[in-house]
Subunit: 215 residues, 2 copies
DNA sequence: TCCTTTGTTGAACGATCACTCAAAAAATAA
DNA sequence: TTATTTTTTGAGTGATCGTTCAACAAAGGA
């Protein structure tokens, strides 16, 4: 083991910029404008580096974007849905929390409005269709997670047997995506919170013991 | 009045292409990809004309897009919301019809999925921010129309006094925009119809005469 | 010290972008 | 026929796109 150096020993010239800070700057730009509407010229300026450094550190524009997305999904804004599904004991609490947190986080002025996964690749050239497909896959995974959670809730008796978990999943997915869009259009937390509270009103109630009284 | 010719008499060389058909081809492209992701090269190819003809007939890319949007708003797909608000006697019927028609029309395979006004300018360069603002204004007008209709309904007693017309308007706007997004992601009419039916469940009921019985 | 490795720099690459223009063509008016 | 008006054509405008590369710089290893 003669050549075993220190673990942290860098071999060549050290990087002159903070990789995480550069990634954060790129995230902000992609989040605000989307993949194709963000040029590498704007990226290098915002990241404070020259094109060569960007390509050496991140590969190319597409690889940088995918790394941005993966980092975003581990961030509070990008992970709150999965966290709510995992942490809340009931489906009702999970979806109520998802909608309320979306209402608070999507219009938060400390970062670009809305959800990056929902809005960063909606208008895309034919040659960059892969980027749109990539994000669509993530949205599809969210929809599946919604449906799975609701099916579990139905199996466990939280949801009445008459409820339709797949339909509810599609509904909540549409509401969340709509809230992201509304946030990008300038809707504030108060308005989106009202939307969230209204949206939860569709939650299916268990049928009462006796037949419903006619109006 | 010696020089008064026939009304329909064309003075110079007649246009060699069908202007409406060319506009329809441009609509389809802008609808599918959005404003910036559609190049004038793709436009001229789809329209079957050369760049000079496009610029002579429509001005420039931006003017062509705005003409596309105005034509779209007069088409069945672009006008169903306004039509429902005008034609239905009650707000409840109007919004139920809006959601059901959105569920049918957004995924209709005879044209690109979703709503052009909602999705054609979400990712946009700084220099084309005006296009995004233009469409955002149309969406804002829709939201205002929703709110006005719901306020009227409340004034006329259709909506209970405890209801919040502005919140409901934001809710329906978010649901419609979410349904458009879901259609672009491949959701079919059946799934979106289920979303529409669920979404109408938030409609406020008048309070019963006596106090509500606790669960 | 010299070698190897990695990063930075600034100037470029070809491709595509939206757009223009002079010349030719096709119609009416005189 | 000749003149006028409008459209079409095909080549070409400068700008910007994402990307590359040779030269130089800064670190560790021998």
């Amino acid at each position: 083991m003669s050549g075993m150096g220190k673990t942290g020993a860098a071999r060549g010239r050290p990087r002159a910029f903070d990789r995480d800070a550069a990634l954060a700057a790129a995230t902000r730009l992609f989040w605000e404008r989307g993949f194709e509407a963000t040029s590498v010229g704007e990226l290098t300026e915002a990241m404070g580096i020259r094109p060569g450094s960007l390509y050496a550190a991140f590969g190319d524009k597409r690889a940088l974007f995918e790394e941005v997305v993966h980092a975003y999904r581990r961030s509070p804004v990008g992970a709150f849905i999965g966290r709510a599904l995992q942490e809340e004991p009931t489906a009702h609490r999970a979806f109520a929390r998802i909608l309320r947190e979306a209402a608070a986080v999507y219009p938060d002025p400390s970062h670009p409005a809305g959800c990056l996964v929902i809005s960063a690749a909606t208008n895309v050239t034919a040659q960059d269709a892969g980027v749109a497909t990539f994000l669509r896959g993530l949205r599809e995974a969210n929809l599946t997670a919604f449906r799975d959670r609701l099916r579990t809730a139905q199996r466990e008796g939280e949801l009445p047997s008459g409820a339709d978990p797949a339909a509810l999943a599609g509904y909540f997915a549409a509401v969340v995506q709509g809230m992201s869009q509304r946030a990008r259009d300038g809707a504030d937390a108060a308005e989106l919170t009202a939307v969230a509270e209204l949206a939860m009103a569709v939650w299916p109630a268990h049928a009462p013991d006796g037949p419903a009284a006619p109006g």
